[in-house]
Symmetry: none
């Protein structure tokens, strides 16, 4: 009865993120068909309108294209995966570095912190 989405980030964007990650991890590839809006809604335990938004957003970013009567497909561009990964990692890096700078941490301290926290994450897993 419950879905698993949290944080303040809109659910429809969280779902888009999942698609991006599956692409980058090569669990999805250009040309693959995505589940229908309704089916995805059932899988995600979410309102179909929410999936509709997800798909619209991804189409806007040209990550996905819809073919009338056939469904929604990962865009057929050879560089899609690399481009997507680039864009996402770049965003994450920039935000991270900027926030850390505001907190007064030097690049060296950032690197130390990553070593430390990455270890902790390993311990937990």
């Amino acid at each position: 009865m419950e879905n698993e989405f949290q944080s303040s980030k809109p659910i429809y964007l969280q779902i888009a993120d999942r698609v991006y990650y599956r692409l980058i991890r090569s669990e999805l590839s250009p040309g693959d068909k995505l589940p229908s809006v309704r089916e995805m809604a059932v899988q995600m335990k979410v309102n179909p309108n929410t999936i509709q938004r997800t798909y619209s957003e991804m189409e806007r970013l040209e990550i996905v294209e819809t073919r009338r009567g056939q469904g929604t497909f990962i865009a057929e561009r050879s560089d899609l995966k690399a481009e997507l990964k680039d864009r996402l990692t770049k965003d994450v890096f920039k935000r991270f570095i900027q926030e850390m700078a505001e907190l007064g941490l030097s690049p060296e301290e950032m690197i130390d912190g990553i070593k430390q926290y990455a270890e902790e994450a390993n311990d937990e897993s």
Copy 2:
């Protein structure tokens, strides 16, 4: 007539963030009096209720304490600054590492990326 706040994050939290950063940069210290709700509202070009919410939130987190009829003050705990910095940096690290892991980057790649982007930031400045 216009204020300078952006985006999705609520204004009242953005203002709280500013207080946190001023604390960490030692522009504010435990015991210091914050501007009154009304005065801060003028400074920030925001409705007094918005500031009220900022102050309530910070009080909930025990970063600030209000003395009735006197105003709102930075909490008088010697470890406040360190604790706050810790909490904020921890949050940023965790989010960064988790997002990067989802993008399939290893800690080594994260570190390389930081070196690279930190250089770029230097070049710009």
Copy 3:
């Protein structure tokens, strides 16, 4: 046109108290949907913002959780009712005993007083 709230305790907390009591009396159970902010506001003859505050407070205490676009629900924790009752009774006991101690009454006198007043209450009913 008039609502029925009194005294010094903020209305938004008085309304929260009512929810707590309904939970303890099992008129509400984990997972139940509370009325929407607007509907509750009508019922209580109060401004929607006041209810909003009530719900925020209850969410802060993890007694309630909100699902975006769906409404506000009693938290789904099996021990919620017992925990809540415990917390509330504990608070009342502690305050009572402390006040009585300050008035110089021994536990025995407290017990005698309860017997006496409980009888009176019976007589009235």
Copy 4:
């Protein structure tokens, strides 16, 4: 620099309570002179206006009387102490029993609870 008042109860009433308790414990007696407003303010680390309110409140309740040019004195009524104690204990009992009834506790459970919590309080002391 800090005073020691807490809870949501107004400071001026908390200070009045202290006077009541000192009376009941016979640390104060009818006819005794209270400290001047200013002196009490210094003792309590509080604004003189706050003490002024305390004294006004106590005068309204006829627990205290002010003699112009001389100061403020505990009212000279032989029954003052007993009456005060009665009134305060009655209030505390009634509120306690009512709150407990709302929580669904029987008088027997109240008595059990008092025994239990009174013990705990002993352990701590």
